[in-house]
């Protein structure tokens, strides 16, 4: 039996109960296989964030179902969903979300704190992840001492540290200049080549072109 798809949306949609009722995301189907590189584009307010929230288990669809690694996310408890999010999804945000008073390594280690990974393993894996994103020489640097590109690399290392099934990036280059952005995108390409499933949400078509497949969202509707 082949491995289940990483993401499987079956008529998943999200409607905010009114009044007035707002359909943030109309029911849609989407399957992302292991190792795929998907980009999701759409103008602001189109429903990209809602889509990201559903895929990232930060919000639940009000209709249809969402299977992550073959697990029906509606059928598990809230606590289990939280754990699922922590272990199987690595988030990369536009504004990095690094703790400014912790070193790069400590920031990466944070991804494993809630899995109760032993400290030794945590440290080792954090270093590994930072080396993988090319920051092996800045393990003990504070984020304030890092450039924008380096900060985003730390964030990517943090997303990778828990060895997730899915790397979910929300405008990963939104705060970076084009040259730095390109190097971050190169890094994502590399991770994809190593077998990582990557989903990037962006409004930048340049960024969107990097993926194998681009999905457009407009007015809450997913257009393949």
């Amino acid at each position: 039996m082949s491995a289940p798809p990483v993401i499987e949306l079956r008529q998943a949609g999200l409607t905010y109960p009114g009044p007035p009722e707002v359909a943030a995301l109309r029911p849609c189907d989407l399957t992302v296989q292991r190792g795929e590189y998907i980009t999701i584009v759409g103008p602001s307010g189109a429903g990209k964030s809602t889509f990201l929230n559903i895929i990232g288990l930060l919000d639940q669809p009000t209709s249809g179902s969402y299977l992550l690694d073959g697990i029906d996310t509606a059928a598990v408890t809230d606590a289990e969903r939280t754990a699922l999010r922590g272990m199987r999804i690595g988030f990369v945000f536009q504004s990095f979300h690094l703790l400014s008073h912790r070193t790069a390594r400590e920031n990466v280690e944070l991804a494993m704190v809630y899995q109760r990974t032993p400290r030794g393993t945590r440290k080792q894996r954090a270093e590994q992840a930072l080396r993988r994103v090319g920051l092996g020489h800045r393990l003990d640097a504070l984020p304030t001492r890092l450039s924008g590109g380096e900060r985003q690399r730390v964030a990517i290392a943090r997303a990778l540290a828990a060895e997730p099934s899915l790397l979910l990036c929300d405008e990963p280059t939104g705060n970076l200049d084009s040259q730095t952005a390109a190097s971050v995108l190169d890094l994502l390409d590399g991770l994809h080549h190593d077998g990582m499933t990557v989903v990037v949400i962006t409004h930048d078509l340049e960024v969107a072109r990097r993926g194998q497949r681009t999905i457009t969202i407009r007015d809450g509707e997913v257009l393949a």
Partner: protein, 407 residues
């Protein structure tokens, strides 16, 4: 399929909390000041009150804790006549273990026309002292009063047994009678009986009435004026420290084995009850003030933690995204405020203790503080932190990660 849940070790919780506090050390320190002041004031007040109370006690104790009086209540007992104290009362009581001095005394009522004067009745140059009292006191009673002599000596058992006509004068009485120097062997006349003045009292520890008295041996008084009448005899007993209650129980039996009920012994008040009373009176207001300090401290922590929660909503969102459950967020913020409270409690307890010691040193007191008070203080700080952090921590757990992460 059984999925694992997010978990966090206590050690991680502690280190995350400490890291949270250390993010803004200056602000954390200022936040803890309220608790420091509250707990410090509480410790200082409690300690100073108990310290002051024990000093008052010590002053009380020196005299009262070693004093027992025995009253003659024989005339109140139906069918009994005459004084209850036996003639060998002093000796009987002094035999008891723990007694340092004991003796019987009473005021002698003189017949009309009998005066206390510096010369015989009818003599030309005499000064009489109508304010002076005549006190019959056994040698033991005089000793128990703790006299300090200005001149001469006090009488002893010899004078007492042999009905000597000797007198010891209080300083005030001596001055009024014009007796200033014992070298010319002055006498006082009580009625027509002359008494050789052998000593003048400068001061007494007990029975200050003796300072305005003419004191004569008990036996002499009995021979001249009879046994005590309206003014009943009393026995004053001084004891070693801690023996008073025991002596009070024993004395009536020792004096009158046949009728201990003719006598009533009064022991000193229990110093323990005395102390608690003093503490209550002094401490309540200050304790209230300290509690107000503590409440202000709690409000400070609550306020700062709430601001921190709003400020750190991005961090909270991130932690949620990384697998933290709402309860992990709650416990982290609670742990931070509790750590601040604990820290404030520890520093406050130290400062409070230093204050007590400093004040005690300045006043030359012995600092008195129950160890349990110091032990509770950090816990009090911890509880303050817990209470103050409850609402902000709850608010933190309600922050929606999706929203927080978009900022």
């Amino acid at each position: 399929m059984k999925l694992p849940r997010s978990r966090m070790s206590l050690r991680d919780l502690a280190s995350e909390a400490v890291a949270g506090i250390m993010q803004r050390p200056a602000r954390s320190a200022l936040t803890a000041v309220g608790t420091v002041l509250g707990v410090g004031a509480l410790i200082a007040v409690t300690g100073l009150t108990s310290t002051a109370a024990s000093q008052i006690d010590a002053r009380f104790s020196e005299l009262t804790a070693t004093e027992v009086t025995v009253d003659d209540i024989a005339p109140d007992v139906p069918g009994q006549a005459g004084p209850a104290f036996p003639s060998d009362a002093d000796a009987q009581v002094q035999r008891l273990h723990g007694v340092t001095a004991a003796g019987v005394s009473w005021h002698v009522r003189l017949q009309p026309g009998q005066d206390i004067a510096s010369g015989p009745p009818g003599a030309i140059y005499t000064t009489s002292d109508r304010q002076a009292q005549l006190t019959a006191a056994s040698a033991g009673a005089l000793r128990a009063a703790g006299p300090t002599l200005q001149q001469g000596r006090s009488y002893d058992e010899f004078h007492d047994q042999h009905r000597e006509h000797v007198a010891v004068l209080g300083a005030a009485t001596a001055a009024r009678l014009g007796i200033t120097d014992l070298r010319n062997q002055p006498a006082v006349f009580i009625g027509s009986s002359p008494f050789a003045v052998i000593g003048i009292l400068a001061d007494v520890q007990r029975r200050p009435d003796l300072l305005s008295s003419v004191i004569v041996p008990r036996t002499t008084a009995e021979e001249l004026w009879g046994p005590p009448t309206d003014d009943r005899a009393k026995m004053l007993i001084t004891t070693q420290l801690g023996a008073a209650a025991q002596i009070a129980a024993e004395a009536p039996v020792a004096l009158r084995p046949d009728h201990p009920d003719y006598l009533r012994a009064t022991p000193p008040p229990d110093p323990r009850s005395l102390r608690s009373g003093v503490e209550n009176d002094l401490g309540q207001l200050f304790l209230l003030l300290a509690a107000v300090c503590l409440v202000i401290g709690a409000v400070g922590i609550a306020n700062t933690t709430l601001v921190a929660v709003l400020e750190r909503s991005g961090e909270i969102g991130l932690r949620r995204a990384l697998g933290a459950r709402a309860r992990h967020i709650t416990t982290q913020f609670l742990a931070e405020s509790m750590a601040l409270g604990l820290l404030g409690g520890l520093v406050g307890a130290s400062l409070g203790t230093v204050t007590i010691v400093a004040v005690a040193a300045a006043k030359q007191w012995t600092p008195v503080l129950h160890p349990a008070t110091i032990a509770t203080a950090p816990l009090l700080g911890l509880a303050t932190g817990l209470l103050a952090g409850a609402y902000p921590a709850w608010r933190a757990s309600r922050i929606q990660p999706a929203e927080a992460l978009r900022r």
